[in-house]
């Protein structure tokens, strides 16, 4: 049999939780936790880009890798067939052609490089340890991987005929980097805001006292 007090509490259970722990408590907890283990086995990195685009980079890279292999295959066949038909003169021609393959690319590269540099400088302004985040290594790994796949793609650019697709993949690669950096910046900005609120509270008290 339930008495009136039990009923009353049950009906209003949620309203009894009126307290909130202070926001900096997580920082204290984080400091006591052992550093992240198992980084080596973390091969799949989920990057959340909002609720709409949530993809696993591994899948993405598998697709890019498959595309590269396909293009490489096609390219090689074409080059071999060409060499068979026209002999040594084509190799000189292809080197000359390489400079004309994607004339717009240097400009694009310069643009994205400056963007990425800007984001990286912004990122370096945050003290990651103070903010209790241990994710920088993951981000660095991710960027390094994007870097190597970029170099790989660029090599392909001069040996495969389908330059448009390669250039598109190169641009996409650069855009992903910016997204990764933006996401990290956003996370840090949120954390920083929380921290600033905490720091500014006692200061306000001081000024009102004075």
């Amino acid at each position: 049999m339930k008495d009136s007090l039990e009923k009353f509490v049950q009906n209003n259970r949620e309203e009894f939780d009126v307290f909130e722990p202070s926001p900096e408590l997580w920082q204290h907890i984080c400091r006591e936790l052992p550093p992240q283990a198992g980084k080596k086995e973390a091969k799949v990195i989920n990057i959340k880009l909002g609720s709409v685009a949530n993809f696993s980079t591994d899948h993405f890279f598998m697709r890019v890798a498959a595309a590269i292999l396909l293009l490489l295959g096609c390219g090689l066949t074409l080059v071999l067939v060409k060499q068979d038909s026209s002999g040594a003169s084509t190799s000189i021609a292809s080197v000359q052609a390489a400079n004309n393959v994607a004339p717009e690319l240097p400009e694009i590269e310069a643009y994205y490089a400056s963007q990425i540099e800007k984001k990286k400088t912004e990122l370096s302004e945050y003290d990651l340890k103070i903010l209790g985040l241990d994710e920088q290594q993951v981000i660095d790994n991710e960027l390094a991987r994007l870097d190597s796949s970029y170099v790989h793609l660029k090599k392909q650019l001069y040996t495969t005929p389908n330059t448009d697709e390669i250039v598109a993949a190169l641009i996409q690669n650069l855009q992903i980097r910016i997204k990764v950096l933006n996401k990290q910046l956003e996370v840090l900005q949120n954390l920083k805001n929380v921290n600033q609120e905490l720091i500014s509270e006692p200061k306000n008290d001081d000024t009102t006292n004075a």
């Binding site: 939780d17 722990p21 550093p35 973390a42 985040l133």
Partner: protein
């Protein structure tokens, strides 16, 4: 506390926590911090102490996560840790919790009018906070955290019947405090 489908929603996050993923740990923390903080607040009745308990409980939960076997929901597993840490905290603070039975047995009148139409959550909550430690712990574990008397006995190291009698005394005392509070208001 919110009802969540623990097995589905949290088990991925919990797996990530097991490998020490700080972001996953933060996700779990955000999910449970408020509810657990209130559990600890009710038992310790002290904001600073409740925060210490919460910190200690989460650190210990993350360090011992491999011991969580998904028999119960993660929430109730965590809650046990929080409750134990809270009770330890008040035991350290005051020895008066230990002799539970000797505490204020005589001064509670038998009949108290139960006019709960006028009750307000805030009034009840504040009255609970005015209860002495021993009463408050048993009463909140039973009324708010939903444990039965045999579970409370286990948690507090007392018998089931002690928990029952302690609860009924606590309940009477609570109603008495509420009456006083009504006069005061």
């Amino acid at each position: 506390m919110k009802k969540l489908s623990y097995q589905d929603v949290n088990h991925l996050v919990i797996d990530r926590c097991k490998s020490g993923d700080h972001r996953a740990q933060y996700e779990l923390y955000k999910l449970y911090a408020k509810a657990m903080f209130n559990v600890s607040m009710r038992i310790t009745n002290d904001y600073t102490e409740a925060e210490d308990v919460l910190q200690e409980a989460f650190v210990s939960a993350f360090k011992n996560l491999h011991g969580y076997k998904a028999e119960a929901s993660f929430g109730s597993w965590l809650k046990k840790i929080v409750i134990n840490a809270s009770i330890n905290a008040i035991r350290k603070r005051r020895s008066e919790l230990v002799p539970l039975d000797e505490q204020q047995m005589a001064d509670v009148p038998d009949e108290v009018n139960e006019d709960y139409s006028e009750w307000q959550v805030d009034k009840v909550r504040r009255a609970i906070q005015k209860l002495p430690d021993g009463y408050r712990v048993v009463l909140t574990l039973y009324l708010l955290e939903g444990y039965d008397h045999s579970e409370i006995g286990e948690i507090m190291g007392i018998t089931e019947s002690t928990s029952k009698s302690q609860y009924s005394r606590a309940r009477k005392k609570l109603l008495e405090i509420m009456k006083e509070a009504q006069f005061a208001n």
